[in-house]
Symmetry: C2
């Protein structure tokens, strides 16, 4: 018998469809999947093609991973925490309240065993996941009225979902689930009082500043929010080793690329928003402290009944304490000095 | 004529040698090139092999890019600012005093035109460069005596090179050029009074805390120091497009991976150093202000006579002002709150 040329094994033609959880208009988030797919295609001379579809074409945005899990679509680009309702442990794949910032997420995932830990869990849902994009610390949302103290949050109807909604409800907020496109009219009519979205670049497109001008920070529930590609387990296992390696490197590169894109675009958007009338406000210290306490109670409550959640919480917490110890030394001191120069217009 | 199979074009066997500027013992910096080379090899099923050699085997560490420029070696992994003596514009590829932090470097390079701008310049040296690793904000060096005010820097013999050395000389420091292996004995004998290296993980290996216990921060001359792969221009142009794409993605992935590795390893090393007697000290505010002024004067002096340097300085400065405006909003507020929780042992 004559052996088939090795190349037939290592460079098969493969076509996958990717269902994104995001609309095309969000070129940052949606674009992360396109960057990933382009890296894969270019690396394989077009032999491994992944076609990206916006939310709604192959699956609704919040159903992306469910369809991949069933095998109706090979791969999706989504937020792991969208599936919090199935199991709260999904939250750790994206961001958890008072969790890690973007660099710390990478430290945990790529060198602290995070990717392996998440995939032990994802495997139970027939998924293989890799980080593919990060927004950095998000903003804390748009409010129709100013929040001066934690009491001002009582009864506030806020569009905020999942784990963050649960923590917010602990300080009196009434969380609302509303799709992206319906937020603006709901704020305008006063059906809701507040809404969180992402950060300046994405938020500016939706025009919230016109109807809810108080723009709070930080988004303490998303200090470094990951996006993920999630691949059907059998589809992932069916790839030749070199294609798996290309997917890994392409996702890691697109992960970093997306953070860089957000970081580059956000400053200009922030200036535009401020010029358009957005009123920037830090959350008052007592609000942050109350939310931190509410988050701690929520972590403990869920940990008591969910072993996978507890395992991830314990792992994240250990990394978190070390990371915030170190980052406050050189990194934070450098940034703080430079920010002071910026405020003095010395840069 | 029968066309050759496309595959012969797109998957040729290629063997390159990579000369690293670093010793194997620095698994962080040296390891970045190994991660990069592994990604390339795995993506091509072993057809494109890049063998990594430590400093000294193919070329001295500080000569790596010079050998690649001449074409004696195909590729190196180095710090662009090592070649500051040839042209100060090389500095912008790594880090410049009071420049950008690691995330901002990525924003500038990948989305703000930085990679293109650097390569316009590198092309004149027969090099094509891509970021491949970042240390994050480095530490500010080890001192035998405490520095309480800028006057304490007068006459201090410090192992610090390049642009940082020039800025330090503006505040009275006497910069010294000493190779890595000779720093410890020089500090021990008192031939020098201070030395800068990298950060906790790398510094701990060299044992400086025993002979120069005052460990200052931040390393304001390296707020986010890049490593680069640099490829001989003809060699880069000779690669098939898919191999170029693989090199690009592998370098971007390894860039992020190295930062993640540093971030994961530094906290433990910092704790070990503190337990071993290292005395952590922030640079006094007047030292930072004096160095900032000295840096500004140096930027202006060099810009006056070097057009490439001025072009990069202007581009970096514009990005820098915007970045530090934005980062002080959500990112810095989130980090600061979390660091306060860490200090209260609440994490």
């Amino acid at each position: 018998a004559v052996a088939a040329p090795a190349i037939a094994q290592s460079a098969p033609e493969i076509n996958w469809r990717l269902t994104s959880s995001f609309p095309k208009s969000l070129d940052t988030i949606y674009g992360a999947a396109e960057v990933f797919a382009k890296y894969v295609s270019d690396a394989t001379d077009g032999k491994f093609k992944i076609q990206v579809f916006p939310a709604g074409e192959l699956a609704p945005g919040l159903e992306a991973a469910n369809e991949v899990s069933k095998g109706t679509v090979e791969i999706c680009h989504t937020c792991s925490y969208y599936y919090w309702g199935k199991d709260p442990a999904f939250a750790f794949g994206t961001a958890v309240p008072f969790g890690l910032n973007s660099r710390m997420q990478n430290a945990w995932m790529y060198h602290g065993g995070g990717i392996e830990l998440m995939n032990e869990f994802y495997a139970g849902h027939n998924l293989f996941g890799l980080p593919c994009g990060n927004t950095g610390a998000q903003m804390g949302g748009w409010f129709r009225k100013e929040i001066k103290t934690v009491d001002d949050l009582k009864g506030v109807k806020m569009r905020i979902a999942g784990f963050a909604g649960k923590v917010m409800s602990g300080v009196g907020v009434v969380p609302q689930q509303i799709a992206g496109g319906e937020i603006y009219p709901a704020l305008e009519k006063g059906t809701i009082d507040a809404a969180e979205w992402v950060g300046p670049y994405d938020d500016e497109k939706l025009g919230f500043y016109k109807v809810a001008p108080y723009y709070y920070y930080p988004g303490w529930w998303e200090g470094g929010a990951y996006l993920h590609i999630m691949i059907n387990t059998e589809k992932w296992n069916s790839l030749p080793k070199n294609y798996q390696a290309i997917v890994w490197a392409a996702a890691q590169a697109a992960n970093s690329d997306t953070q860089a894109k957000y970081d580059f675009l956000n400053p200009t958007a922030l200036k535009k928003l401020a010029a358009s009338g957005a009123q920037l406000r830090p959350y008052p210290q007592d609000v942050l402290e109350a939310c931190f306490a509410s988050a701690k109670a929520a972590y403990e409550e869920i940990s008591a009944s969910n072993a996978a959640f507890k395992k991830m919480y314990d792992a994240m917490s250990a990394v978190r304490a070390d990371q915030y110890l170190w980052f406050q030394v050189s990194e934070h001191t450098f940034d703080t000095f430079m920010m002071n120069q910026q405020r003095k217009k010395a840069l």
